[in-house]
């Protein structure tokens, strides 16, 4: 029995240690290089596979190769919003500053993924549907997602006191994540209403193995990228927040020497 409780206790203390900015700064510093390594180890082969080894699509020719950046970005943009909302909830309920900061650093990265999804989607739409913008279900809800991200970033920057800004924007993220499925459903419903079922060329099921593998590899690479970018941003913000605290003075002197 004791090993069980001590395991749970270890988890709890591990979780609490992440709450301390100093510990977070040091530990994330160690993790980031590994995350970047994981990203490059996956992204480079994934791209090579997708862009050169995978055969052209019998219907679309080569324009489908944009899928290897479009779909992983789309999945990641939604995942980041969910991660941001969870972090905001943790920050709000247990009043952990590190969680609030992590949530706020998610927003710009999520917005970046959404912008890339929209850009690559419209570039892909031109050869496929003939126009740069097609009001289909996925692209429209991705656009609304971008506005939600900009809302969170905008609110966070509009309020002066940083902790209050983080909490208010975190609450908006929570409200947003609750609304995301409703928005997605209403937009999907709306598109089927106006154009009948759009012929979406890359329904997940219809991809054959040669395309699916690079897609999954790129998707996992995106997670490594997100981890590395998020931890880097959060470390800087925490350093700035605690700039007058002792642990920062020691880190700064350590870093400089």
């Amino acid at each position: 029995m004791s090993s069980h409780t001590s395991f749970w206790k270890r988890c709890k203390t591990w979780f609490h240690r992440w709450g301390s900015p100093a510990w977070f700064y040091r530990t994330s510093g160690l993790i980031i290089p590994w995350l970047w390594a994981g990203f490059f180890l996956l992204a480079i082969p994934g791209l090579i596979w997708g862009l050169s080894i995978a055969p052209p699509d019998y219907l679309q020719g080569d324009s489908y190769r944009i899928i290897f950046i479009h779909v992983p970005s789309a999945w990641q943009s939604m995942l980041i919003f969910a991660v941001m909302a969870i972090l905001a909830l943790i920050g709000m309920v247990w009043r952990i500053r590190v969680a609030e900061t992590l949530a706020m650093c998610c927003a710009p990265i999520g917005a970046a993924f959404t912008i890339v999804t929209l850009a690559t989607g419209s570039l892909w739409g031109k050869p496929t549907w003939g126009t740069f913008w097609q009001w289909d279900g996925r692209m429209t809800s991705e656009l609304v997602l971008l506005f939600l991200y900009l809302g969170v970033i905008g609110l966070q920057q509009a309020i002066e006191e940083p902790r209050k800004a983080a909490r208010a924007a975190g609450l908006l993220a929570l409200v947003g994540v609750v609304n995301l499925p409703i928005i997605h459903y209403s937009v999907e419903w709306w598109t089927t209403l106006h154009q009948g079922t759009t012929i979406s060329f890359f329904g997940e099921s219809s991809i054959d193995a040669s395309m699916l593998w690079p897609l999954l590899i790129m998707a996992i690479a995106a997670k490594f990228y997100f981890g590395a970018a998020l931890l880097t941003r959060t470390r800087n913000t925490l350093l700035l927040q605690d700039r007058e605290k002792n642990w920062v003075r020691e880190t700064v002197q350590g870093e400089k020497s």
Binding site: M92, V144, G151, G154, L155, A168, V175, I183, W190
Partner: protein, 222 residues
Amino acid sequence: MNNLLIIAGHDLRLAFRRRNEWFQPLWFLLLVVALFPLGIGPQPALLAQIAAGVIWIAALLANMLSLESLFREDANNGRLEQWLLMDGSLPALAAGRTTAHWLITGLPVILISPLLAAWMQLPQAAMGTLVLSLLLGTPTLSLLGSLGAALTLGSRQGGMLLALLIAPLSVPVLVFATSAVSDAASGFDPETQLLLLGVILLFAITLVPFAIAAALRIHLQE
């Protein structure tokens, strides 16, 4: 519940004294809708096609603009703090304030909608659905808008930011309401959309007041 009625009653009496604040959102709504025929031309067929969207988007904008200072006055004079000290009743107070606001600005929009429908050449068949969709949709917009007002209390440029925050959240209401009206205009049965609007409204009534209370509490902890 009692607190909700007290606040709502109090705000309504207060609104009687500031008649002009009533009419501004209404003027704005009439103006925005009137601009469309001027901009697009008076052909009835074309106007009828976009009638539902125009009326609803104008209602959305009017709602957001009228909500900007919902809590600002009470935040400045210190009454919001006293609300907070009555722990447990902040959601009810927020709901009361929003109900009063909806009665002051939401209801007139519904009463005036037949005129807007006439301006936009909306077929007679869709009139009932338009009013019903406004009845089911505008309370949700008021709730979301007052959440936006509470969130942007801490920032200087409230109005614009409020619209940016709340517009994405209002997409479902806008989508279902406009399609209900346009379906009714072309003879289809808008029942599903209206039911969905009702579901969203119930969803909003139960959850959003707590979010507003949380936002007010966040603002007060300056």
